[in-house]
């Protein structure tokens, strides 16, 4: 029974947080609602990152390429067929004539993300450590380069416009909830436990017969699916997309959210995605001036990025395992788990010399 309560917290915590954000968002003005939707969509992508990075302990800069591919595919295939021949005259025939609904495009986004992740994963998951990080970064660079300059598969360097907007508050909240559910279900599978074992001690995991490659590939594919799903939500949120929107900046922001929240737990990913998003929105608003009670706060343009960067550096120096300590929701209230978590901390981070 005790275990079940822990599971309820583990899944319920993130879902409740999402519902709360959506509820608060529904009471806001339309302009502010857009920010809330953006936070939820970004959180979906962060959860996608968590599924691979958090569970495997391998750094990946490549997930945003899955977001990019899915966002462009979903955007192109749902945009009006009539305008495609004028805005994207060189498009492949099947891309130029196929039209799907927004709901179908979300599924397509997830599928494309998964397939792309699987294919790159087959090659990349043989690597570890920094080599893996650099190789996934190479994937991001290649994806960006191809999307920006190959006119047969998209609008090239121009903006893809007139994508039907359908990611409202409820859709983004449900989407984020689906991502949480998928991540939750996955982290209780045998496959994920084996992967986590390899994260804690790769040699020991290999010693007991874990195929680290296969388990990483599974996580990478699921992570790609969630990222792709997030990408499709993203394009239907904005109504337009440009390749630079799904590149280094988004990679940085989402990674920062994950590590600040705590990359080792689903709760950490959700709190990081939403919390960091709220701070981000607040700072961007402050650049245009906000009223805090009787105080009028206004900061110079560009300051928000500096503060966010500094904030992230400070959090990681003071709390290397993120603000949640990489624990699941309410996990620390159980003293037994608490002592275990602390012991893990010691093992993970080598002692200061």
């Amino acid at each position: 029974m005790k275990i079940r309560i822990r599971l309820v917290y583990e899944l319920g915590g993130p879902l409740l947080l999402i519902a709360l954000v959506a509820l608060v968002g529904s009471m806001m003005s339309i302009a502010q609602q857009a920010n809330v939707i953006n936070i939820l969509v970004t959180a979906t992508i962060v959860i996608g990152l968590y599924v691979f990075i958090g569970n495997s302990g391998v750094m990946s800069f490549g997930q945003i390429s899955f977001v990019a591919v899915a966002a462009f595919a979903a955007g192109i295939l749902t945009s009006p067929v009539a305008i495609r021949s004028t805005t994207m005259p060189q498009l492949f025939h099947f891309l130029a004539v196929t039209k799907i609904s927004n709901l179908e495009s979300l599924l397509l986004g997830a599928l494309l993300g998964a397939v792309f992740a699987l294919l790159t994963g087959l090659v990349l998951m043989r690597l570890s450590g920094l080599a893996a990080g650099i190789a996934t970064f190479a994937v991001l660079e290649i994806t960006y380069d191809v999307i920006t300059y190959w006119n047969k598969i998209g609008p090239g360097a121009r903006t893809l416009a007139l994508v039907p907007v359908s990611t409202g508050l409820s859709v983004s909240a449900i989407g984020c909830g689906i991502a949480v559910l998928a991540a939750f279900l996955y982290q209780h599978t045998r496959s994920c436990r084996l992967l986590r074992a390899s994260r804690e001690d790769i040699s020991a995991a290999r010693g007991i017969g874990v195929s680290v490659f296969r388990q990483r590939l599974v996580a990478f594919t699921l992570s790609g699916a969630i990222a792709g799903f997030g990408g499709a939500l993203f394009v239907h949120e904005l109504g337009s997309i440009q390749s630079s929107q799904v590149y280094i900046d988004l990679t940085f922001t989402t990674l920062a959210m994950l590590v600040v929240g705590g990359s080792g737990s689903l709760w950490g990913a959700t709190v990081g995605g939403i919390g960091f998003g709220i701070v981000d929105v607040f700072l961007r608003n402050a650049e245009n001036g906000v009223a805090l009670g009787s105080l009028h706060l206004s900061i110079p343009s560009g300051t928000s990025t500096i503060i966010l960067g500094a904030f992230m550096v400070a959090v990681l120096i003071l709390l290397p395992r993120g603000v949640t300590g990489s624990r699941e929701c309410l996990e620390r209230f159980s003293m037994k788990r608490f002592s275990k978590a602390v012991r893990l901390d010691d093992q993970d981070v080598p002692r200061k010399p």
């Binding site: 090659v123 920094l130 990025t305 550096v313 010399p353």
Partner: protein, 294 residues
């Protein structure tokens, strides 16, 4: 452009990336950590050249060196000391964040369109004129880069602190046990990191005079790719890796047709993935060596 010209230019670009790679390799050697914010030291050095554009050239370069070394040491104290013992990936992300924040600072202070630095533009003149397009800057790069390596090797192999650095890179714990002063070693590594940044700032601004906020980041990313490609465990291999990436990038740029040039990053990074697959621990590291050290 002639084949000889292409080759010499590729070598000079390789040297620039090798100098950047040295700074990454030095810090990794003693601390097992990656400094992605090294690029911002280069950027600030380049901006300092713009700020002091009316000064005598020697003073301007001197100040650039001082600023880069100072900034490097400041990073060591503010970021790397508290993170001592953290994993390479944690520092990679922290310095990524720092780099991102500093880029926003450059954007605010120096504007998005970049500032022109033209202190040594005379070096852009071609050497022979006519058929072979080799510019003086190429020789400056090879010469100054070479001098820097000689200085570095002298310190590493002919001084006591150099021996301590090599010992630390070989085995951190044992080095400490036998009385190596780690703080001193780390400080020297960061001083060289700053110096290399200043050299890159001075040389790179001759080839690309426009200093934009992402000036340093673009350099460090390619150099870091080179370092991992070469083998981050050893300074020599890391430097060679930096050289290879710069060299291949420049050569590919000369070989592929003009209208396909936009796909140059794709080709370069495909090359990177291919090398990492065949040699996961690095281009110059035998496959038998452990991959899991990082």
């Amino acid at each position: 452009m002639s084949a000889l010209g292409d080759l010499v230019n590729a070598i000079s670009l390789g040297v620039i990336y090798a100098v950047v790679a040295v700074s990454v390799g030095l810090v990794f050697g003693v601390l097992r950590q990656v400094n992605l914010a090294q690029g911002e030291i280069i950027a600030f050095g380049a901006y300092s050249l713009w700020l002091t554009r009316t000064w005598p050239i020697v003073l301007s370069f001197l100040l650039c060196c001082l600023i880069c070394i100072g900034m490097s040491l400041a990073m060591q104290i503010a970021i790397f000391r508290p993170l001592r013992g953290a994993s390479a990936l944690t520092t990679l992300i922290v310095t990524f964040g720092l780099s991102y924040a500093l880029e926003a600072v450059w954007l605010m202070v120096f504007g998005p369109n970049g500032q022109p630095v033209s202190r040594l533009s005379i070096l852009n003149n071609t050497v022979l004129g006519g058929h072979v397009d080799i510019r003086w800057v190429t020789f400056a790069e090879i010469g100054i880069g070479g001098l820097f390596f000689v200085l570095l090797l002298t310190v590493l192999y002919r001084t006591k602190v150099g021996a301590m650095m090599r010992a630390t890179a070989e085995d951190y714990k044992t080095a400490r046990l036998i009385g190596v002063r780690i703080e001193q070693v780390v400080t020297v590594a960061f001083v060289f990191g700053g110096l290399s940044a200043a050299i890159v700032a001075i040389l790179a601004t001759v080839q690309t005079p426009l200093v934009t906020p992402d000036f340093g980041f673009n350099l460090i990313v390619v150099a870091l790719v080179g370092v991992v490609l070469g083998g981050i465990d050893s300074l020599g291999k890391a430097t060679a890796g930096g050289f290879v990436v710069g060299f291949v990038n420049s050569l590919l740029g000369a070989v592929i047709p003009e209208q396909q040039l936009v796909f140059l990053p794709t080709l370069t990074f495909l090359f990177v993935i291919l090398v990492l697959l065949l040699r996961p621990a690095g281009l110059f590291v035998p496959n038998r060596a452990s991959v899991e050290r990082v």
